[in-house]
């Protein structure tokens, strides 16, 4: 090959010149709006309100509606429940396959959840057997699972999902609704404190009502009807 001196720089300058006459990519934003497909939503993100609570009830309606099960959430919800991620974003592709497989009725291998704490599967298997793998008995199943493990471990929920055929999103949404079901270990004090801070109980309401009727919430819970603040 013959090397002609200066050809490299000519080629480089040609590129520069071409770019120079091309239309510009910069737009004067507020005056000129970019052309965006109307269904584009940007990056979906859950926001926190001014009190630091996630603006999400973890009802998982969105996840249940997603046909390829690619919606995932993490953080503390308005009820102070800790949500555990379903898996890393890199595993979305696998989850898609898994979703298709599950609807075909076959058992699905589950590598995406391997990093969650392992459990001894015997208790949950026994419970599922007892309730005949019936998703209509989901509440008793979840209650019995919590009684067996002390809380609802993700691995147990996954097992229930596989055995009963109910979507994980469905089970998680159910479990996050009822205040007597919990995902955090009862012996984890930091989580328990954070949860207690967020999660109202009926007892709080009752003592609040007592106090409000007796003239001021700061009068303390269960104060005598005659007690007056100050």
């Amino acid at each position: 090959m013959i090397r002609i001196p200066g050809l490299g720089i000519v080629g480089g300058m040609a590129l520069t010149l071409r770019r120079f006459f091309e239309p510009k990519a910069t737009i004067k934003y507020p005056e000129v709006k970019p052309d965006i497909p109307h269904k584009f939503r940007g990056r979906l993100q859950l926001l926190y309100d001014e009190y630091g609570a996630l603006k999400c009830e973890t009802c998982f309606q969105c996840a249940q509606a997603c046909p390829i099960e690619c919606i995932d959430m993490g953080g503390i919800d308005t009820k102070g429940r800790f949500h555990v991620h379903w898996g890393a974003p890199e595993t979305y592709g696998e989850r898609r396959e898994e979703s298709a497989l599950r609807r075909s009725g076959r058992t699905v291998p589950d590598p995406a959840y391997a990093h969650f704490e392992g459990i001894d599967p015997d208790p949950v298997d026994g419970i599922l057997e007892e309730y005949d793998f019936d998703p209509k008995q989901m509440l008793p199943i979840l209650e019995a699972t919590q009684a067996a493990y002390g809380h609802l471990p993700v691995a147990a929920l996954k097992r229930i999902s596989h055995a009963t055929g109910a979507w994980y999103a469905m089970i998680y949404g159910t479990a996050s609704y009822y205040s007597h079901l919990r995902f955090e270990r009862p012996d984890d004090s930091t989580q328990a404190a954070a949860v207690a801070d967020h999660r109202p109980t009926e007892a709080t309401f009752l003592s609040g009502l007592d106090a409000a009727l007796a003239g001021g919430r700061r009068a303390g819970a269960g104060s005598a009807p005659g007690a007056k603040p100050n």
């Binding site: 989901m138 949404g173 007597h180 409000a212 003239g215 700061r218 007056k228 603040p229």
Partner: protein, 456 residues
């Protein structure tokens, strides 16, 4: 645990007629007291159409709070074409301060079971569920014992009173959410799903539990059904007010204590509050009252009618009859059946704030007006209470409440606006004191009270 308040002579006793029984699960004693007479009549004389016609003539309405005519509901369920039908007795009793449903199940489980069996026969259902709060241990134990005894005696089970019809009754303990008191939410819980309300129509009477026609009735409604069949529709229609006949259990709380009373619908609020030592006669007001000698209306500041989502009514509305329409008109509702008297120590803003916060926290999250709307209402209330209100807050509160009501999916959010709506309607001057003058007349809202030097 719960005291049953003594009601004036002449007030009918339908739901608590057998309340004095030594052992409520004793079937023989209950039958001697009239239990299962209504079921016998329904099976042998009336038949499904006869039962529904009798109920229609009696004008019985649901005691769950909304007051829907029972006969219409049963007819809709009976005429909807379906392979199966269900009956669900709602004994959840969502309001933590109200134990009426639980007390009824404890004192007279057979009345509820009989009503459930009659409903099942009337709509041709063969399965009935009684939903009870899982914390209510005694009620569940008694119900289970009563169901066992009634099944053994052939009142329910595979062959009801030798007619060949079958009715299975199961107790289903549920717990964990305030919203379970709402019928579609309760059905979701029985199906093992997240408790979120469904759009209506279709009503549960057309598509309910597992997609089948389902009659969901409060336990008080079901307990009244046998009485109607035995004593006739006219006798029932004669009790209470014309638009809503019959009696209802009310949890009253006043200066003289708290308890449960059976009250004919249409009774003025004044008489109900008087049961718990409210202002009516001096001799009623003894007991554990905060200050003796409170005999005038002046001591009473507001009456909270309807539980956490109830309305706050001023003393001059004490003559309002306790029934569905009249209460709705004045901005309260029957709701959980609670009537709470608040005296001058209570602050309206503080009370409304507590109630709205509870409703917002218990929102299931299905719809935005409820999830965000009630939370915002609660936040506006917080601003008013801590002394940093914006001048437009009252207008914002009114607009937001109207929007939430207009776009609501279920009654929870619609009624969650009531504490502030009724507070603005009747206690405007107290709200104005908070907003315009930064003072809390009751001295409750602490930052304001301190700032205004009114910490008394």
């Amino acid at each position: 645990m719960t005291t049953i308040l003594r009601t004036p002579k002449g007030w009918p006793s339908i739901l608590l007629a057998r309340a004095g029984a030594k052992d409520p699960t004793d079937l023989d004693a209950a039958v001697k007291g009239g239990a299962f007479g209504g079921l016998r009549k329904a099976v042998h004389d009336l038949g499904p159409t006869g039962v529904i016609a009798t109920l229609a003539a009696s004008g019985l309405r649901g005691r769950g709070g909304a007051g829907f005519p029972t006969a219409d509901k049963w007819r809709a369920a009976a005429t909807t074409d379906a392979p199966r039908r269900y009956v669900v007795a709602n004994g959840y009793g969502a309001d933590p301060a109200v134990l009426t449903d639980r007390t009824l199940l404890e004192t007279d489980p057979y009345a509820v079971i009989e009503g459930l069996a009659i409903a099942a026969l009337a709509i041709d259902a063969d399965e009935g569920f009684i939903a009870v709060r899982a914390e209510a241990g005694p009620a569940i134990r008694r119900l289970e014992a009563a169901i066992g005894a009634a099944e053994e005696a052939g009142f329910i089970g595979p062959d009801v009173l030798g007619s060949g019809l079958s009715v299975t009754v199961t107790v289903r303990p549920v717990q964990g959410a305030y919203m379970l008191g709402e019928e579609t939410v309760l059905l979701k819980a029985l199906e093992g799903k997240r408790g979120q309300p469904e759009q209506r129509p279709p009503y549960p009477a057309e598509r309910g539990l597992f997609g089948m026609p389902t009659v969901v009735q409060n336990v008080q409604t079901l307990a009244a059904v046998p009485w109607i069949l035995i004593n006739g529709a006219e006798a029932f229609a004669a009790i209470g007010s014309k638009a809503s006949p019959g009696t209802i259990l009310v949890a009253v709380r006043g200066p003289g204590g708290a308890g449960i009373a059976e009250v004919p619908l249409g009774t003025p609020l004044r008489e109900i509050v008087a049961l718990a030592g409210g202002p009516k006669r001096a001799r009623d007001a003894g007991g554990a009252g905060a200050k003796p000698g409170r005999g005038s209306d002046g001591a009473l500041k507001a009456v909270l009618v309807g539980g956490p989502s109830g309305g706050l009514l001023p003393p001059d509305l004490l003559d309002t009859p306790y029934e569905f329409e009249a209460l709705r008109k004045v901005g309260a509702h029957v709701g959980s059946g609670s009537v709470v008297a608040a005296d001058q120590r209570a602050c309206i803003v503080d009370l409304a704030r507590l109630l709205t916060r509870f409703c917002a926290d218990e929102a299931c999250g299905k719809t935005i007006p409820c999830r965000i709307g009630t939370r915002r209402i609660s936040e506006i209330g917080d601003r008013i209470a801590i002394g940093v209100p914006r001048p437009t807050d009252l207008q914002l509160l009114a607009d937001l409440s109207a929007d939430v009501v207009a776009s609501a999916l279920c009654d929870h959010e619609r009624l969650a606006t009531l504490p502030y709506a009724s507070g603005m309607r009747y206690f405007r001057s107290e709200l104005d004191d908070h907003i315009l003058r930064s003072s809390c007349p009751a001295g409750v809202c602490r930052p304001i009270a301190v700032a205004a030097g009114a910490a008394h």
